[in-house]
């Protein structure tokens, strides 16, 4: 089972930047992102999220988001997607970083989720 990470943010720059932080400690983990509305304003886009899902070469995706409306669009997108999508209500930056480092180290999903659990804040 190969896993990838998808970052969903209301802000395009955040969606561009966070993967750089992650890729540094997870060079072999596929990471894609969706940031901003279709017009690159502050908000989220189901279309962009579905593209991030499809563009990510992994079979199964761990997804992280910033604010609640991003979560709702993530859920809509995952209902429309074939891939298994895992969604975490954890601190965006810190939990995506943890997940990335742990995936690179070959840690299995249940153990990763156990480590993410204390970061649940939403």
């Amino acid at each position: 089972m190969n896993y990838g990470i998808v970052i969903v943010s209301h802000v395009p720059e955040l969606a561009q930047g966070l993967p750089k932080l992650l890729q540094q400690v997870a060079k072999d983990v596929p990471i894609t992102a969706a940031g901003g509305t279709d017009d690159d304003e502050i908000g989220t886009s189901v279309t962009k999220i579905m593209t991030a899902f499809a563009d990510n070469p992994a079979d199964e995706l761990l997804t992280f988001y910033d604010l609640g409306s991003a979560k709702m669009n993530l859920e809509l997108a995952s209902e429309m997607s074939d891939k298994p999508i895992h969604l975490y209500d954890t601190a965006l930056v810190e939990s995506a970083y943890s997940a990335a480092a742990l995936l690179e180290a070959g840690v299995k999903l249940p153990e990763i989720e156990a480590q993410l659990a204390p970061l649940k804040i939403k």
Partner: protein, 193 residues
């Protein structure tokens, strides 16, 4: 009562008009307890609904609600997008079985609550839906009661959405999504009158 295609079409037109007319006000409501865009989000979404329905006239209720849902989901840009989008998506699915209005709205409300996780009292659009649907089912819904339901969100402390970040400070402000849902039900009353 069964909702006819022409009534539903009128419903959406009237709703779109109210949104367009009041978009600045809705965004004002979204300022002290949000990011000041609810009206503009909804106006963009309803314009996309209008465009979609003009480009392709839906054959039936299910089609009308489906097109509406997709336009809102892809164009609104804020929380109200997936929420109203899901509401119409659920009505679209329900419309395959029945055109009975209360049944459709119940499916919509269930969808909103599932999508957003809100319950009555959380200071969201759900508060208006929960207050309005029983009255509608009894045939006792009026504009005044809709106004009351919207106003009733004022003293609540927000538990969902951007307003929830303000905590106690969300008290004393009408919820913008509640207001737009108020417009939705007033438009419905006119459309089925």
């Amino acid at each position: 009562m069964d909702l006819a295609l022409d009534q539903a079409t009128k419903w959406l037109e009237l709703f779109g008009d109210e949104i367009e007319k009041n978009k600045a006000y809705l965004s004002d409501l979204d300022t002290p307890i949000g990011d000041a865009d609810h009206g503009f989000n909804m106006a963009r979404g309803m314009e996309a609904v209008e465009t979609s329905l003009a480009q392709k006239a839906p054959a039936d209720l299910a089609g009308l609600f489906k097109q509406t849902a997709m336009a809102l989901i892809t164009k609104v840009g804020g929380a109200s997008g997936p929420l109203y989008g899901t509401a119409f998506l659920e009505m679209s699915k329900q419309a395959a079985q029945t055109s009975e209005l209360n049944s459709l709205l119940a499916a919509a409300l269930a969808g909103i609550k599932k999508r957003g996780g809100a319950a009555a009292g959380d200071k969201t659009m759900v508060d208006v839906w929960e207050a309005v649907l029983p009255e509608l089912a009894q045939g006792t819904l009026t504009d005044a009661k809709i106004d009351e339901a919207v106003e009733a969100t004022k003293p609540l402390i927000a538990k969902k959405g951007r307003a929830s970040y303000l905590g106690e400070r969300s008290k004393g402000h009408i919820d913008p999504g509640a207001m737009s849902s108020g417009y939705l039900f007033k438009a419905l009353l006119k459309a089925v009158a």
